[in-house]
Symmetry: C2
Subunit: 464 residues, 2 copies
Amino acid sequence: MLLIPLEFGTKEPLYEQIYLAVKEEIKTGALPFGAKLPSARRLAKHLGISRNTVDTAYGQLVSEGYVKAEPKRGFFVCQVEELADLKISLELPKEEVEPEPEEIPYDFSPSGVDMSQFPYHIWRKLMKDIMIDDHRELFQKGNFQGDLELRKAIMYYLRQSRGVHVTTSQIIVGAGMENLLFLLRQIFGGAKTVGIENPVYIHAHEMLKELGFEIRPITMDESGLSVKELETSGADLAYVTPAHQYPTGVVMPIGRRSQLIRWAEKEEGRYIIEDDYDSEFRYFGKPIPALQGISQSNKVIYMGTFSRAIAPAIRVSYMVLPQQLIRAYREVGKAFSCAVSRIDQRVLTLFLTEGHFERHLNRMRNIYKEKHDLLLSCLQEMGDGVKVSGQGAGVHVIAEFPVKDNQRFEICLRERGVVIYPLSRYYIERSPEREQYILGFTRMTKEDMIEGSGIIREVLCLIT
Amino acid sequence: MLLIPLEFGTKEPLYEQIYLAVKEEIKTGALPFGAKLPSARRLAKHLGISRNTVDTAYGQLVSEGYVKAEPKRGFFVCQVEELADLKISLELPKEEVEPEPEEIPYDFSPSGVDMSQFPYHIWRKLMKDIMIDDHRELFQKGNFQGDLELRKAIMYYLRQSRGVHVTTSQIIVGAGMENLLFLLRQIFGGAKTVGIENPVYIHAHEMLKELGFEIRPITMDESGLSVKELETSGADLAYVTPAHQYPTGVVMPIGRRSQLIRWAEKEEGRYIIEDDYDSEFRYFGKPIPALQGISQSNKVIYMGTFSRAIAPAIRVSYMVLPQQLIRAYREVGKAFSCAVSRIDQRVLTLFLTEGHFERHLNRMRNIYKEKHDLLLSCLQEMGDGVKVSGQGAGVHVIAEFPVKDNQRFEICLRERGVVIYPLSRYYIERSPEREQYILGFTRMTKEDMIEGSGIIREVLCLIT
């Protein structure tokens, strides 16, 4: 008979005590393969407990495969390969401490958003409104392409503000660029060769590489990506940022745009990926219309995001597919649910349709313009030696400083709490002889910008 | 001099009218390449408007690349390749109507959740609470692995309820299985060969295939995936659902579990993907502990989701990586932000830490157990010819009906509004001779279940 030390009146139910005790006997080999357990009736009597309790314990042992029930014969120990080896260590692994990112006092980073201007109260109100009405349907599975209402709102925005030719069936809502680029890869049935601007938006380069795309860096000239070089590169896709090239700030003129479209039209499988990442921010004149809008031939895959225009945590991006890719998308897309929560989709829909987005953009455009102008005047005060380019749009400008030793320049700035971003790091190959720097102006306060620029000026005096 | 018909007092600003008129002239070729535009001063005088207005219009034309400004010489038309060809058609493409899914009166689908039980008021309250306090930080970019607080909450849940050995640094939060499987693919630096259960969870199969994994279907026997067959399949990965195999309902006994782990230990690159998709629901005895917990050797990649236990739209899944894969993950993972919105992460964290999840699970377990028992008794009433298996856990059971012509059986049911799901469709290859059916019981009301079962009984009488 089994020796089972039962403790009555503890938190652990009796059936679990029996279950654990028998399991332990099997694991240690005390109950070998094939051994017969006492019948439930006998064990119950022996332990002075109810038959039901033993039945439950045996049932659990059977479920987990330690014991086999043979009709009319009883319960037998199953063969378990070297169970002793698999014993669970009760010691939990030590927690690794995750490194905290360092605080930089004067960070001219081009990424990030002026969050002091985030329309938190409106977002909160919309969210509360949604939560007050009964919207249980938002917790059901939604359309894999994104909810129709949101796609409608995006469609109107893109038509009116970006001149994009689009219907709701062409729009795919995703959680960030990576999500959409992944879908694109699936639509193409695998990775293709993609020509990308050199220098380039590093994050896009990383993602395309991670997704297995073959990368061909294409030289940027004063009009943008060199279509001549693209032609001979063997690329099927071209990844471009025509509205305000990242990082150089070049606006692709209409001539180059039409060249690029003609390149894509030459072969069936060729497409242009237009990343319209910061098109909302242009500080002089009208916005430059999207490349997608001038292509009759359905050769442009248009991408945009709300992360930059609203807040980094609003992980909603969208992609506009040419008509002829929609069928392929539907085939693969239905295997992947839309990764954006339906509540977020609903809030964003209201934010767009109730006019908050437009107002927010107008306000941000003014704020960023002030910061942009302030940064330009700060740079001007540094003297004629400082050459500025890429201004007038987006969230950063490019500056070249009259220094010989760039490394020393960066270290001196860094020691004083200032970080600016060398353009050379954005090159995939052939970085230029003269170093230039990216200075973002959106996230900084004006005070910090003035102080940070003051430090740059001081360092320039110090080392030149 | 240019002929520009200006309309005063309209909504369209004067500068835009000039800009559009000149652009049109260039596009049609009326202003050829190299042509000089009138100076801004002259044109302003000629049109009787301010110089500033013309400057703005010319500025826009320069930005978009239609016109080039040459210092001291004036404005010249740029070369634009066959612009006429690129004219935008003003007609918008017709909207494609997206098909609505058909309503099925008695749908025994195994997917979906009993949403009448969704703790909507609690979720709403948590959301409102978050919105009342100032949580601006939630709109900033979060940790790419998922917010630490949520990972902590998941860690406690997995340790206590599933016996999973885990620290927060091993947990990755993602928006659905596809998101996590994609990350896994990146961690392995490409797709590997994966042995999957046959029959299998179709959606997992589709996703793995879409992600480029090489698929090896492995026979299921009464203890689950055949490790013997896996051994000779050439697979590096094994995708399994040991707690309650989908769709057969088999619980993998401890003997097979240890065999599987030993298989993985034989070679360095081998891993087991344990999809613990419905482990929360077990209706007799204790839950079966996760396979991950008995593996000393860090060979199990554990996956779970909240979509099934809470609501389909809660697109939060998690993956527990073995220690030795974390470094590789950090390398690739940092290129991809966490796809779950931080507000959702925060709500879920509170839902877990404040005990709502446990209460919700207990309630759902009771409700599902009632439905499970009801379905079993409905099936029993159909007579001895109906054989049931896979019961006792999860969200569905398997039934074999005494019919010769399965197709006719399905059609007759369908005509009467009943849909049950043939198991053969879940086979990747070698579907079995005798058809069996999946009957899900979570989403249906009890009344529908009784009525639907009545119809099945009628049809059985009719065709046998």
